[in-house]
Subunit: 337 residues, 2 copies
């Protein structure tokens, strides 16, 4: 019996199903305690996996005839396309056939499916999308990176718990330091939402709240979890991408300015490549959707076989560390159950 | 008769009053249509300016015995310290003695003083702090960078107008392209605030609204004015600082990794310095506080004589371009008067 059953949306992502099948086979060969259920057109998937006789006993199929496209309205797509690979994979978690779902499909559809198909952990107000991002000193989790606009203070309180549990179980941080993104370090700073969230976070003892985290400190200080409403969180995530791109472009432009700096730039190229790799949060893994009643990992749309393998490993570890169970347990500590 | 009278908070900033006096004298020597009123302890200021007989006819004094410190609670300080250099300078605008104020003092105190001493332009809901920032392709104004948390849609509508007028008059952009910071490009994206602000901005024809500006595009696209509530705007501003710092630190770290990249880094150094200078939004000038009934410019706290001179030039140009009058005129176009 495999301990960890993961449903994989085999049709999600730019390179599916080749990438997803490749990733699944790689993961199965690496982890013998994993069973993977491929959601998608069964005939085609069986064809693609026909030669993998070494792991076929831990490979299952969830037949699904539809696919949710990247540009479809998420809520509508999840509701209407009941036979899509994503919905079928999520239903497998809802019905207890699998403990986890991995998808490289549309973010919006994964959020909608996580919320309405997998379902929330009882007591959780809103699930949150929470990538782990490489900072200067350490990796940190940004929660929420865009699942929820118009947040309530209580959502942010719970985001802190979910992030803390994740970093503990997945990144081996014994006591994650949780910060609240704000426009100043002092308790009384911020808008109505952050001031009220600060009070709630300060009052609990279920996780280690380290106070406000000014935006200028997100990448340079040593927070393990950085809590923000989904609007601010998404802005931070996207602005990081845009600014890094702008900065590298400026550096390149300025280096072209003289022969000396051109040569310097050519010599220094390996260092730039390392920084780009270091900054690439997709390399850290997929983003978990926390707060739902199962381990849901959203892999990047452009994921190849290796990235899918990594996302599957991540889902496996979420099951191993019982992230869902520990969030549920933590909720009672917050007085939510 | 000097055409442009500017009150200068001679005691504001880390290097005051030496830096402010130096900046004032430099500006007076450069612009013979400017008169500067130095607010601060008159005896001391007269001593510092004693040798400047060439411009003494365009130098005035507003005696002030108090100073507002950088760490004082802004509202309280502005209310209590009626004889502080900042309040005295701002009162000079309120009473029509001067058209503009420049200060390198506490940002909070400048906001509070602008709001309550200088006063709002009739019809303006909230003044906004609006630095001009060097993007990859062009400079853009970020409005609001932190004066107002908990904004209403109408504030954002007006920020767009104020930013548009400023970029027209000050940066010679004939039709500034105004974007609304949001988490997606489509009209229906965002939180309640941005969705409602979008509708208001879309419905007006007083300035050129170019739709939503995703955070990843702020630095790389060609918006002239980027509108955000003060919470999001402040996060963008501060995150820019922090991330740039983190990126440069990472590049440096990685360059130390091998002899080749070390040499490359040393050769490329001038290019890095140029990028750092290019990214330094303080070099673009002080940040105007728009929406108040006078030209108010907040210079950086660390300003030396040259930076103060630049802020004075900026205030002069705001008077020359009649930014306040044009914002007032634009308001009627928005149906606000």
């Amino acid at each position: 019996m495999s301990k960890y059953v993961i449903a994989l949306d085999a049709m999600g992502g730019d390179h599916a199903p080749e990438s997803t099948v490749e990733g699944a086979l790689r993961a199965l060969r690496k982890y013998d305690d994993v069973r993977i259920l491929l959601a998608g057109p069964e005939d085609r998937l069986r064809e693609l996996t026909a030669s993998a006789t070494d792991v076929s006993d831990r490979l299952g199929y969830l037949n699904a005839t539809e696919v949710i496209g990247m540009d479809e309205a998420p809520m509508l797509a999840v509701r209407k396309k009941k036979d899509s690979s994503l919905v079928v994979a999520m239903n497998a978690v809802r019905e207890g056939q699998a403990g986890a779902v991995v998808s490289a499909g549309s973010t919006g559809a994964i959020l909608a499916g996580g919320m309405f198909k997998v379902g929330r952990i009882p007591g959780i107000e809103r699930p949150a999308l929470a990538p782990v991002i490489p900072g200067l000193k350490k990796h940190f989790m940004l929660i929420d990176a865009g699942a929820n606009v118009d947040c309530q203070p209580k959502y942010l309180l719970q985001f802190g718990l979910m992030g803390s549990v994740y970093m503990q179980q997945m990144m081996d941080v014994p006591t994650p330091k949780v910060g609240l993104v704000n426009i100043g370090a002092e308790a009384e700073k911020g808008d109505k939402l952050t001031r009220e969230a600060y009070e709630l976070m300060q009052a609990q003892s279920e996780y280690s709240f380290a106070g406000n985290c000014e935006a200028r400190d997100i990448f340079t200080e040593d927070f393990d979890v950085v809590v923000a409403d989904g609007f601010a969180g998404n802005i931070i995530l996207k602005h990081t991408e845009g600014l890094a791109k702008a900065l590298f472009a400026m550096i390149k432009e300025e280096m072209m300015g003289s022969l000396r700096t051109k040569i310097g730039g050519a010599l220094a190229m390996p260092a730039f490549r390392k920084v780009k790799r270091r900054m690439d949060y997709n390399a850290v893994g997929g983003a978990p959707l926390l707060g739902v009643n199962g381990a849901v990992v959203k892999a990047h749309g452009s994921s190849g076989g290796e990235a899918i393998e990594n996302a599957l490993r991540q889902a496996r570890r979420m099951l191993e560390g019982d992230v869902v169970g520990k969030i549920r347990a933590g909720l009672s500590g917050l007085g939510e159950e």
